[in-house]
């Protein structure tokens, strides 16, 4: 019983084992099966009929069979259980099928079994065949397989060819015959590796292949034209990128204030004398002679401590001599150090008295020496004098002994109570005076000359300073405040006034020169200030004269922005005429000015006379009847017109109701009452008249009394002279509002100047202020120091005559960047911004 039970147990165990193995084996089994079929086919094909049959079958049947596995369909998949379909159902294989299905649900198919396991499976299978309930089919398969193997082995060598033949026809993928025919058929590399039995090495290859499969396929090569184009494009991109490195350099050069060509400046090197000398050779007999002479004396080209001769003499010295010399030297050195120590000690002494005494001694000694020298050696004395002069100059420059130091101030405070302090101060001042006084050699001849010079100088030079010349304060000398008023009468008085400060100067010898200068400056400033503040009638007339003579500068000032046409006009105005001389240039310049003038000319001619007359009438007592008449007529005319028009004005905006009789008069009365004091019309006329008068050109009196004739109190310059120097200005253009009685048109815009004015803002400027400033900053040497002038007028381009300018190169750029700090010329240019900065102090605005 127990044995039976154990037998049953073992049999069931075995079965289970077999089944469990079977699951694993299935793939192998299938493989075996497949191989078997293949072999079968191969064998049958040997007979020649089977192949055709096979293909027919796969074509006809939709059923999947293990004989012709096709992957033609798109989504078609090989399913193992389907492969088992044809194998007729046995209970054993039924379970296998089930297992397969289960396996199918799992994803990964495991690796095929190893050889050992496969053998074990086959042995198990063999065991199964012995098992009573084993299906006949399985056994059959095994048997048939064996038979086939035998058949194949008998066929021996012809097997391969058959195989290739077959793969041509079959749709099955195999590594021996790869075909890519068929519509949607794709060659998958990993499938090619399928038949190769698993080794771990190929596994990685498979993986890589899979990865590759995900990438895109390489496209078709381009046509030649296209390819060339691509190459060109790439080359162009590369080149333009490479050439962009010049951008910075080019920009820098374009913006540079100054460029110096050639770019490669030759570096000046100083060749040493030795180099020169060694390279030089005497050629001519004269040279050779000189050379030999020089060589004989052993003249040196450089200057070492000792010459050759000296060295030689030193070498030639005997021992005693050398010792003696050494002793001398030692002594000298000791003495020197001793004196040095002494000087240092003395310098350290803090006592002021000591130093004072010391200095006094020194001075005395020096004076003595000077006296002695004067007698013995006048030249040396002169040198001494020069030294003293220098000391004086130094003293004058310094603020020493001027009672301005800390000590002096303290003395000044103490001075009230302390006699000693006062004395010290006095002493110091005396000292200052003494030092600042010019040392004069008592030479009789010189003195005489001085006197003579004083005599030669005419008094008038010192005295008569026409106060109108205040524009040049240097010519004034010391002017008292009284002379500020400019006028003839004052001028005459001037000498008397001028004498005053001089006498003052005599009275105050303490007044140092700096103070005098300062005073002078202050006075001059005051003069200028006065002139600006309250211009005298004559000054006013000059001022008014200005605008006309300043016309070009007005041209600078007035910029008309109306024209917005910014078309680039040609740089040259090309004409048929040829101009050769300055006069013709003048004509050219005045040409269009004349054009502008022409239309106004007739108007002016008819207007000229009355204008002139009125102008004259101002100065002269009104003598001529005609002038008065015209003036009067004009006035009357204006008034009449104004009166007439004021009556006729109808204001449509006013409500009509107001215009009825009673109300109207009432209101008019009210208004009249309200504006009783305002005579608007008369005011306007007055105003207009004033404007007209102002606009008229005025006469200028350039008379200088005493110029070429006697002058003084009670003497009046002759009428002839007065007439000659009374300069009438040419009448300006006629007023625009001369026919418009109720309008004042401002005449500030000077037509005569307009032709010289810039009427369009030039390119680099942002606003007319900028432009004006750039024009107003003068660049000439009259207004700028030499250095500034050179900087302001530095040319943009400097070339050296006779030097070849090579194209820019990489080396140039490199050298430029390194030496840019040295080479970069400051080149102050009048860019608007700079001009703004440069021109800080207010200047007369030119309108």
């Amino acid at each position: 019983m127990s044995s039976a039970i154990s037998n049953l147990f073992t049999s069931t165990l075995l079965l289970m084992l077999v089944y469990s193995v079977f699951i694993q084996v299935m793939k192998g089994a299938y493989d075996v099966e497949r191989r078997h079929r293949q072999l079968l086919e191969a064998v049958s094909s040997l007979a020649g009929r089977n192949r055709r049959k096979l293909t027919e079958r796969t074509e006809a049947s939709a059923q999947v069979s293990e004989f012709g596995v096709s992957c033609e369909g798109a989504g078609e998949k090989l399913i193992l259980s389907d492969l088992l379909g044809p194998i007729k159902a046995s209970s054993l294989l039924g379970t296998v099928k089930k297992q397969l299905n289960r396996v199918k649900q799992k994803k990964a198919v495991e690796l095929p079994l190893s050889k050992r396991e496969a053998q074990r499976v086959t042995s198990v299978l063999a065991a199964l065949t012995t098992f009573p309930s084993v299906h006949q089919g399985a056994y059959d398969v095994e048997r048939r397989h064996r038979q086939l193997l035998e058949a194949v082995s008998s066929l021996a060598g012809r097997n391969r060819r058959k195989l290739t033949e077959r793969t041509e026809a079959s749709a099955q993928v195999s590594e021996f015959g790869v075909s890519c025919e068929g519509a949607g058929e794709k060659l998958i590399l990993s499938d090619l590796l399928g038949p190769i039995k698993a080794s771990s090495l190929l596994g990685t290859v498979k993986k890589q292949l899979n990865r590759v499969k995900q990438k895109k396929a390489v496209e078709l090569p381009l046509s030649k034209r296209e390819a060339q184009r691509v190459v060109r494009e790439a080359a162009y991109d590369k080149t333009s990128k490479a050439i962009t490195k010049w951008d910075q350099v080019v920009l820098q050069n374009r913006r540079a204030e100054q460029l110096v060509f050639p770019l490669k400046q030759e570096q000046l090197t100083v060749a040493s004398i030795e180099e020169r000398v060694t390279s030089w050779q005497a050629r001519t007999p004269l040279e050779q002679e000189i050379f030999s002479l020089l060589h004989k004396t052993r003249q040196l080209t450089t200057d070492p401590l000792l010459t050759l001769q000296e060295e030689a003499s030193l070498q030639a010295m005997s021992l005693e001599e050398a010792q003696q010399r050494r002793a001398e030297l030692q002594k000298a050195r000791a003495l020197q150090s001793y004196y040095e120590a002494k000087a240092r000690r003395e310098k350290k002494i803090k006592s002021k008295k000591f130093h004072r005494v010391l200095q006094k001694n020194k001075r005395r000694e020096a004076l003595k020496e000077f006296e002695a020298l004067k007698k013995s050696n006048p030249e040396a004395a002169l040198l001494k004098l020069d030294e003293m002069e220098k000391a004086r100059i130094k003293e004058r420059m310094s603020l020493k002994h001027q009672n301005k130091g800390k000590w002096a101030r303290s003395r000044a405070i103490m001075g009230k109570y302390d006699l000693e302090a006062r004395r010290a101060m006095q002493e110091q001042l005396a000292k200052n005076k003494e030092l600042t006084q010019k040392v004069c050699m008592e030479l009789e001849g010189d003195k005489e000359v001085c006197v003579a010079e004083e005599g030669l100088l005419p008094d008038s030079l010192n005295e008569v300073q026409p106060s109108r010349n205040v524009a040049n304060p240097w010519m004034l000398g010391k002017l008292s405040s009284e002379t500020k008023d400019s006028g003839i009468q004052e001028d005459l008085k001037a000498p008397a006034d001028l004498k005053e400060p001089e006498s003052e100067g005599e009275e105050e010898p303490v007044l140092s020169e700096e103070e005098a200068l300062l005073q002078d400056f202050e006075q001059r400033r005051w003069v200028r200030h006065c002139q600006k503040g309250s211009p005298e009638p004559q000054g006013a007339s000059r001022d008014e004269e200005l605008p006309e003579s300043v016309s070009p500068s007005q041209a600078a000032g007035q910029i008309n922005m109306e024209d917005e046409q910014k078309q680039e006009e040609p740089l040259l105005s090309e004409q048929l005429g040829r101009l050769c001389a300055m006069e013709e240039m003048d004509v050219l310049a005045s040409e269009d000015w004349a054009e502008e003038q022409e239309p106004q000319q007739p108007a002016r001619t008819e207007q000229q006379k009355p204008h002139q007359d009125t102008a004259v009438a101002e100065d002269r007592p009104r003598g001529s009847q005609t002038t008065r008449k015209t003036a009067k007529q004009k006035m009357i005319d204006l008034q009449a017109v104004l009166a007439g028009e004021s009556c006729m004005i109808h204001c449509p905006t006013l409500p009509v109701a107001v215009q009825d009789e009673g109300g109207g008069t009432d209101q008019r009365l009210v208004i009249k009452e309200a504006f009783a004091a305002d005579d608007v019309v008369a005011d306007f006329l007055k105003e207009k008249n004033k404007v007209e008068q102002e606009g008229k050109s005025q006469t200028v009196d350039l008379l200088l009394p005493g110029w070429g004739e006697w002058s003084g109190t009670g003497l009046k310059p002759s009428a002839k002279k007065r007439k000659r120097f009374l300069i009438k200005q040419p009448p300006g253009p006629p007023r625009k509002d001369r026919h418009l009685p109720h309008v004042i048109i401002s005449q500030k815009r000077n037509i005569l100047a307009a032709t010289h004015q810039v009427n369009e803002l030039p390119f680099p400027f942002d606003s007319h202020h900028q432009f004006e400033r750039s024009i107003q900053a003068p660049i000439g040497p009259m207004w700028n120091t030499q250095h500034a002038f050179q900087k302001l007028t530095a040319p943009h381009l400097i070339t050296q005559p006779g030097h070849i300018i090579q194209p820019i190169s990489n080396e140039d750029v490199a050298s430029q960047s390194t030496t840019s700090t040295h080479k970069a010329k400051p080149a102050m240019e009048l860019t608007p911004q700079q001009a703004k900065r440069l021109h800080q102090h207010p200047r007369k605005k030119v309108r």
Partner: protein, 440 residues
């Protein structure tokens, strides 16, 4: 200037005579009017002294077709005539120092080697000849160092700026090694006769050429490939690279204009230079790269600033015919032009410049005047005088006619735009108008 303390002459003496000046503006009033007058006078004097013509070199027996500058000697210039004769001139003596019968037919192009020891010529006889700059010794034959026989006519030649390489053009652009008889490489893009080829003086591997099918082609010698092609309205006769700005070149066009291009942006020229009234035949940059000179079929040469659309100067003489070639000397002082009527003319680059050594004070005055002219250049009177040029009647009337035509065209354009749907006729700038296409 005159009113300053005036020393006799020279800086040393000036220092001795130096007088301290007071720069108080109150003492020197009317600075603007005074400077204005000075500027006006300076401008007038500039015009009075504008005598640019220096010399005429005659000796050729046919029109001067091409010229070459000597790279190392300022006084030497080479010229080739339409009868195949090449002459070497000495400019200081103003005479011909050597004559070679180089080719049969035209001398189409010539260039000097960068070292100045030899030069190359190409002619209608399909040959490239390499000559020594120095003449043959006594008893020796006048013979070229090398002669290369080609299959087609060469129309232009240019030498590399640093290496022993030169480029010819004809049916294609060939790049030659001096030692070899066959080109190193041939660059083609389409088939057409190329009229001129020029090496870039800065990035020396770059070449520019212009062909008769209206295009300008750029090449890269290193990569031996063309780079880009720009097609203009009309044919470009020649081009010239800017010697200071590597990517800028100017093309002389048949449509009377010159176009300055940045080689990186060929779609639009940087500047269109217009003033000539006939085809522009040659162009050459000043060595400073700030200006260039152009020779035209209208019997005049003009000087253009690189950044201006119009010329600053026009040179002509009664006898000068169609100007075929023009060169700007390497010292930035002179201009040479060779024309149809067998003469080479020497001009000053700056018409009113005083030649020769200037005293320091003279130089200072010149600089001051120059700055004054610049400062007041916008003032109408000064501008007018500075701009005034005499022109021969033919050019004058032509220019006038063209102005009228241009105005009419502009008006028509305006009218057309006015009467069409807004936006349908876009405004095309003058720069873009002349570029037909850019081919990659």
């Amino acid at each position: 200037m005159a009113s300053t303390a005036s020393p006799p002459s020279g800086t040393v003496v000036a220092a001795a005579y130096c007088v301290p000046r007071n720069y108080d503006p109150a003492l020197h009033p009317f600075e603007v009017p005074r400077e204005y007058v000075r500027a006006l006078n300076a401008t007038k004097l500039e015009r009075v002294f504008a005598k640019p013509f220096l010399a005429s070199l005659d000796g050729h027996r046919d029109g001067v077709n091409c010229m070459a500058k000597h790279p190392k000697s300022l006084s030497t210039v080479l010229s080739g005539a339409c009868d195949g004769e090449v002459k070497i001139w000495n400019l200081t003596k103003r005479q011909c120092i050597r004559t070679i019968q180089a080719h049969e037919g035209f001398v189409r192009g010539m260039c000097a080697r960068f070292c100045g020891t030899s030069f190359f010529t190409v002619g209608d006889d399909k040959t490239v000849k390499h000559w020594k700059m120095d003449g043959p010794g006594y008893g020796e034959e006048e013979e070229p160092i090398h002669t290369i026989l080609g299959k087609t006519v060469y129309t232009g030649i240019d030498h590399h700026w640093k290496e022993a390489i030169f480029a010819t053009c004809g049916h294609q652009v060939d790049i030659w090694d001096e030692q070899r008889t066959s080109p190193i490489c041939s660059l083609t893009w389409g088939v057409d006769s190329i009229s001129s080829v020029k090496f870039n003086p800065i990035e020396t591997y770059l070449l520019g050429s212009c062909a008769s099918d209206r295009n300008i082609v750029l090449y890269d010698m290193r990569q031996s490939t063309p780079l880009k092609k720009v097609i203009l309205d009309m044919r470009t006769n020649t081009l010239c690279w800017n010697p200071m700005e590597a990517f800028i070149f100017t093309a002389a066009n048949e449509d009377y204009n010159l176009y300055t291009f940045d080689m990186r942006f060929l779609e639009t020229p940087v500047m269109v230079h217009m003033d000539h009234v006939s085809a522009v035949l040659d162009v050459d940059y000043s060595p400073t790269g700030k200006e260039f000179v152009s020779a035209s079929f209208d019997k005049s040469i003009r000087i253009f600033p690189v950044d201006k659309g119009h010329s600053r100067e026009v040179y002509h003489t009664k006898r000068m015919q169609h100007v075929i070639s023009v060169k700007w000397s390497f010292d930035n002082k002179y201009i040479l032009c060779g024309s149809d009527e067998m003469n080479i003319r020497l001009w000053k680059a700056n018409a009113s410049e005083k030649l020769g050594v200037l005293a320091p004070r003279e130089k200072a005055a010149m600089n001051y005047n120059q700055k004054l002219k610049e400062k007041f250049q916008h003032h109408p009177q000064i501008k007018r005088i500075a701009r005034h040029r005499h022109l021969p009647k033919a050019i004058y009337s032509q220019a006038k006619e063209q102005r009228i035509m241009r105005e009419a065209r502009r008006r028509k354009d305006l009218n057309r735009r006015k009467h069409s749907k807004p936006g349908s006729l876009p405004f095309v700038s003058e720069k873009k108008k002349h570029v037909v296409a850019v081919v990659k």
